[in-house]
Symmetry: C2
Subunit: 212 residues, 2 copies
Amino acid sequence: MASVADCPTSRREARRESRRDAILQVASDSFLEFGYAGTTMSAIAATLGGSKGTLWSYYPSKELLFNDVLDRLTRDFRARLTLILKTQGDVETTLRRFCAEFLRKVTTPESIALYRLIISETSRFPEVGRIFYERGPRLTQHQLAGYFSGAIDRGLVRKADPLQAARQLIGLCLSGSHQRLLTGVIDELEPGQLDEDIDRAMDIFMRGYAPE
Amino acid sequence: MASVADCPTSRREARRESRRDAILQVASDSFLEFGYAGTTMSAIAATLGGSKGTLWSYYPSKELLFNDVLDRLTRDFRARLTLILKTQGDVETTLRRFCAEFLRKVTTPESIALYRLIISETSRFPEVGRIFYERGPRLTQHQLAGYFSGAIDRGLVRKADPLQAARQLIGLCLSGSHQRLLTGVIDELEPGQLDEDIDRAMDIFMRGYAPE
DNA sequence: ATCAAAAAACCGTACTGTATGGTACGGTAA
DNA sequence: TTACCGTACCATACAGTACGGTTTTTTGAT
């Protein structure tokens, strides 16, 4: 039933789906680059090709388009962050690998732009930040906490609240380059910079959670 | 010489100074609440009283007003963050006190709004983020690093890069409530929440930097 | 010290030109 | 028939300008 409902049943519907997808893509790029206020429907239509009227036939308002864009962007973000925690190796190796993958993903220009957009629009669209948090930070915290909980059970790290420990490791990872990217202090990463960030985070984290 | 230049020499100048101050105050409130795009000069003039033309006589453009507002806001922020590191007590007590004061100051609604504004406007006004970083995060990092360096010299904590250690402690402090305020997940702090954040940060930090 | 005149600052209101979300419509394409 | 196109249009918003009249401050004369 569900698969039938999801299946486009005509050329027409397939076309509309494809067009909607293109709209969302162009709109995403614009919102990410210029923010909500700085994005105009005319510019979207111009980039997209076709007429403005068509764009309006897909989205009755700018706000609805923005909602759809954010929904999509945060879902994509979530998909990207759904790390497959590879648990081969000892705790330090596993956590280091996790941190590397996590940091690499949240420091891409797209991720920085998304985070900026979220923070910017939080007051105008109050649900935005919450949805993002559920699909971003909370997700990674819980993934990591799951692994960490197992490590506690096996006596590989000291007993602690796994979720708090996860938050701390993530917080440590974010306290270097990520913050400077977000505030525009640096525009891009130097080679090896993420590795330094991770080394530092891991150093204190492993000391702080060494088995007792 | 400098004090002479700063001293209003006439009723006229004093009046202009006072008027400029009022403009900056009203504009600050508006930019913080509505962002750059959401702030209109008409609204500023209406709140301020008097005529729009007068406002234009003080600032020839919205952008110049914004620059002045940001300059002022970041200076005020710096003044607030110029913590007097009270070094009585042991290292843990001192650091805890520092963290408490720091977190209290960066989680006020004004500070959150400022950070949001900075992040929002970084692409449109690229210097904004850098200036903020110099007057905010870097300042506190260096204050803390100075203290930490002394503690290293006295063998009270293990040898490490004091600036990196400072960044980490601050990063740990910011990984809880601050992030959730910034993203709008929570609108205000529960009683005791900051203390929890600090306890957690201090716990891992003191373990991680225990003397070897 | 006082006062009148001049200069500067300010007010309220109207206006300008541009921009933007959104609408309308005749003609064409699928 | 439906979807789309290109173009024109609408109403509103907003940074910024203009202008005649009023208020405040300064200046210069007495």
